[in-house]
């Protein structure tokens, strides 16, 4: 079940929820906030979302992962608001009987998240300035 949260991601809880006796593999991706970007020092960053559409898009990615990869579960949680440096802003957890589909679905979901989900990251820089991170134009629905 996709989630948008405004506090620290509880990754340990997501991992134990993903463990299933019929699965042998859990692939996980954590996106963590970086202190540099394009040569500039990042001091602070925050995420904003079009929340109902972002949640529906994340849920759609989870559904698609279950339908197109041989995996048993896929969960995506994204954090919004200020995220301290080096903390996770997003986590994708995929459980499967075997590791190859787990890796493939996890990687696919992260790639799609970056171009299909209405979430924006703003960085604040030292010694000054701020910017929305140059992102990807949301894919045209007819392109699918």
């Amino acid at each position: 079940m996709a989630e948008l949260v405004r506090s620290a991601l509880d990754v340990a809880q997501l991992l134990s929820a993903a463990a299933r006796p019929d699965c042998g593999a859990i692939a996980v991706f954590l996106g963590t906030t970086r202190n540099h970007h394009d040569g500039r020092r990042v001091t602070r960053l925050a995420y904003e979302a079009y929340e109902p559409m972002a949640l529906a898009s994340l849920a759609e990615l989870e559904r698609h992962a279950l339908e197109h990869f041989d995996v048993a579960s896929c969960r995506i949680v994204h954090r919004l608001g200020d995220v301290p440096l080096a903390e996770p802003s997003v986590v994708v957890v995929v459980a499967a009987a075997h590791r190859e589909p787990a890796f493939a679905a996890c990687r696919w979901a992260m790639n799609e998240l970056k171009r299909r989900v209405p979430i924006w990251k703003k960085e604040h820089y030292a010694p000054g300035g701020e910017d929305w991170v140059a992102g990807m134009k949301l894919a045209d629905p007819d392109a699918d």
């Binding site: 996106g31 995420y47 079009y50 559409m53 134009k137």
Partner: protein
């Protein structure tokens, strides 16, 4: 008819607000709404080539006809993750 407009990220900052209500003729399309929005908030025009637009939380084409009461969202390039 009435349309609600939501502004996000750069669009929000350029509009100076996060939402607005527009009065448009019945049968207006997404492109008509964008023109009216840019008339009210000229700094948004430069964003236009990069914007995606959602109508009722689904991506929509410029020629899509707006239903009455639509929620139209201006979505700059996304950078989640």
């Amino acid at each position: 008819m009435i349309v609600t407009v939501l502004f996000f990220a750069q669009a929000r900052e350029r509009a100076g607000r996060s939402s607005a209500t527009l009065e448009l003729p019945d049968g207006s399309r997404v492109a008509d709404a964008l023109e009216e929005i840019e008339r009210l908030h000229p700094p948004l025009a430069a964003l236009r080539p990069h914007l995606a637009v959602a109508v009722n939380q689904r991506l929509a084409r410029l020629d899509a006809v707006l239903p009455a009461g639509a929620e139209l969202a201006l979505l700059p390039p996304v950078s989640g993750g």
